[in-house]
Symmetry: C4
Subunit: 295 residues, 4 copies
């Protein structure tokens, strides 16, 4: 168990108590210079990765399958992700560190996600990306199967999927497979299809999403199926569909900030819904709410 990043024998509650020095984890980027309080900052990031896992489970973006990762704050050539475990069950002690080939950094590793290469390849191809989600969210699936209708933003919260959502079909290059992305060649091909976009659909399988922070990639992943449902139902109503214009998508991206009050509001809400409001680290400029306390 020495390969785990957190103190194994320590209960989650106790670990939470250590976050006595609240630093906004969303300010972390690969370029942030290492400081004296590195350990605290790193622990806060692990904590956020746990929250991200549980939010994605609660919001039904993932079930037993699907995963979320974050680039290592001090080493851009590494990323953090859970061992092979349903996201709903992930705790700090389940986080492992992998390199950009998807290989574990330490020797004694537990079982790993078969598809960890998706994360490795996207982090390798996109220096701007700090966090990655791969999931099978049900309502995104139809757009990978019936490729005539393009998935495009129709609601403001769906704007972050951008002007184009490419569909990657593993069969195009790799023929008949089990559809899983189980090596770097497949993952790199997916990353190439993703290009500079934020989401790529994977035919008959799910999607890969990439963003500049954990909170952004979680938000993107939660609203992606909602945008999909709104579009499916709008098509059922018939007539012309009004998509978000390129100008609107750009305006939303310009106005978006991982640091803003509005962004934090959703993170805080989802964390509480997922039963881990008590794990929230409290940025200095907010009065975070842990709903389990005052009810």
């Amino acid at each position: 168990m020495s390969s785990f990043l957190a103190v194994p024998g320590m209960a989650l509650e106790q670990q939470t108590m250590r976050f006595h020095n609240p630093i906004n984890p969303f300010t972390l980027t690969a370029a942030t210079p290492s400081v004296v309080r590195t350990m605290d900052r790193f622990d806060a990031l692990i904590q956020d990765l746990v929250i991200a896992n549980r939010i994605l489970a609660r919001e039904e973006v993932v079930d037993a399958y699907g995963h979320v990762s974050v680039r290592h704050p001090d080493n851009p050539n590494r990323f953090l992700i859970a061992r092979s475990l349903a996201p709903e069950l992930v705790g700090p002690e389940d986080i492992v560190e992998l390199d950009l080939e998807g290989q574990p950094v330490r020797d004694e590793s537990p079982s790993l996600y078969l598809e960890r290469f998706i994360h490795a390849a996207i982090f390798a191809a996109r220096p701007d990306v700090m966090a990655v989600v791969h999931a099978h969210a049900e309502d995104t699936l139809p757009f990978g199967i019936a490729q005539q209708t393009k998935l495009r933003p129709v609601i403001h919260s769906g704007s972050f999927i951008g002007t184009e959502v490419p569909v990657w079909d593993i069969a195009d290059k790799f023929g008949d497979t089990n559809l899983l992305v189980t090596n770097m060649a497949q993952a790199s091909d997916l990353a190439k299809c993703l290009g500079g976009n934020t989401v790529a659909l994977m035919r008959g399988h799910g999607f890969a999403a990439a963003a500049g922070s954990l909170i952004e990639v979680v938000r993107l992943s939660v609203y992606l199926p909602r945008n999909a449902r709104a579009l499916i139902r709008a098509r059922q109503l018939g007539g012309e569909i009004t998509y978000l214009s390129r100008g609107e998508i750009d305006a939303r991206n310009r106005g978006y900030s991982s640091y803003s009050v509005e962004t934090w509001r959703a993170w805080e809400y989802w964390a509480n819904r997922a039963g881990c409001g008590h794990l929230l680290t409290r940025p200095a400029d907010h009065t975070a709410k842990d709903a389990s306390r005052d009810r």
Copy 2:
């Protein structure tokens, strides 16, 4: 924190205990003369605003985003709304007082909702309106995107959306924006589109609803998506749709009262579902049920 309306250091439970003199908060209007017991009456209204926030969250009208407000009982030029916080997490201590330009009345204000101007503009334009909701309820979205099919009442509980639900498109007047209503000019344009109706859809974004009391605007907001779903599915079945007639809509409006046993029944039910049955103030003519007690 001195700008908050409730005693900050006081837990919700304790605050509840102060409602020893149950006055039906639904009788409050801007015209009600100020009386000796103003403080109690005011506290009861704050309490109801908290309940409204939690009901809208529980019934999935809002998520981290969306908000509900009520006009100030003693000053029609002010309204009460939560600080920037997910409605699910709102308590009495989170309520702030704003003027009809959307500006905070007190100096030391916490972060505010970006779109508070929606409320300000509707309260300014419509003296008859005592409560406003803005939300993104998922099943209302298709009708803003595929504008060929008008959203109209098809079920009796949907009658309160009225004979016409206008669709406001921010792009018509303001071009490419981030779709949020972030100033009075935009909000006034939305209020103008709303006109004398109870609901306006906002293209690619959500809706704004206005009513004569908190309980009415909550009921309107909960049944709006239900009416939308019934209409979407009726259209899937094909053939002619039977909408409510204008006469039926009028008959329902005539028979409706915020004070009635029937109206209270839903408020009480939703409050219990939202886990805040214990916050209900008990009108003299009812035997309110707090389900958490007798189970």
Copy 3:
């Protein structure tokens, strides 16, 4: 409070304890001769009516609105129903006794359901009916609005809606109303439309269901929306629909018994789901399960 049927000051738990002599309440009919243990038998029926209320709430057949009633076991000219209260919140102390004009039998009555006449008229018109439900279950609504597609059984659990589900439109005879059935004239017209069937849809409003026992009317009401959904989706798939044949519907009715192990299994399951497994009275021939005990 003297008009209530149960001991008002007595908690639900305590009242449950009185059911020490378990008699299967499903064997009760209006024709059952009164026996020495009448009180126990009657209490068990009240208990079952409470369970029925909570099941219908849990299974989303009703919300704050909608109600269930049972004919009085000793007087076929009376029926039992809750006072004006959301079914989710109903306890034994909330049950009142009404006559077949929908009027309360005792003087000091609490507020009553506006639409209690639906029950009165159906009990009056149909001596074979022992229990009635009126509700607005969402997925039944489209079939009242888009009347081109008839609601008919397509799944075996939907067989009890019978070969024909008439649609009653209050406007046909009563013009522009608030769509509620608020007097005996309207209710009798609805009962006439129902005829010898088990379910009538009410345009833009909901449905009325009638059956030979509480358990049957609950089962009918829970599977009605499921049958509706299966039919809506089958139509989306296109092509010819295979409905249950008249022979199949008859075969299922012949084989059905309120007393059977199979019927009890669902009642027990739903009661546990609704959090009131502990209220189940235990028929002699069963080993009832209260899930709250062995978990």
Copy 4:
């Protein structure tokens, strides 16, 4: 009660404690030689059957109706299944042993499932099958009713339904019935229709699924409705549908193992969701998570 397989008077919690020697229950097949620790192995299988029942309930594959069975590990001519009880409520003490005619092995039997013959006939016809599910999962129903659209795999997790899902109509051979499979003649006809496939749809009723282990048949049954929904929605989007190719289905089957880390991950997740993470037996090569412990 002597016919029950577990110690009747023993609470579930206590029984769990006996699983001190964790053996992976998924390694059990009819061919496994009997060993000294047979009792433990057998108890573990009973425990897994309980978990399977509760998972199917939690994931809405079954409600009060539907059942799951497993072939007896030491006698291929017998199988284990619950007595007539909703799967949500099944405990170890409710498991009975039946022969391949669907008859109980012991004399004093409790009430049995009417449709137990489905299991008997499939176990009799298919020596490779170790576990069977019969259920009415809602979203599989449309494909039995509107037979124009074939149910075929469109998502990778749906691959296990195979290249063909036959639709069995009981009316073809048995005319007007109550649609239930209540004798061996009907069940054998269904098994014949199933042939070498993993799933057969039953018109107007549900489906029967067969697999090489409990975990496989559960996974198959959970993802079957998901695949159905993805296909229904993809058809709504219009245009050509991309199904999984035969080569992809074969590749997935080749790569699948009941023993793998990936398979266990879902089982563990679903068991925790169903509230019985504490019943999981812990295979030697895993660190199983019981979410009820560290939250």
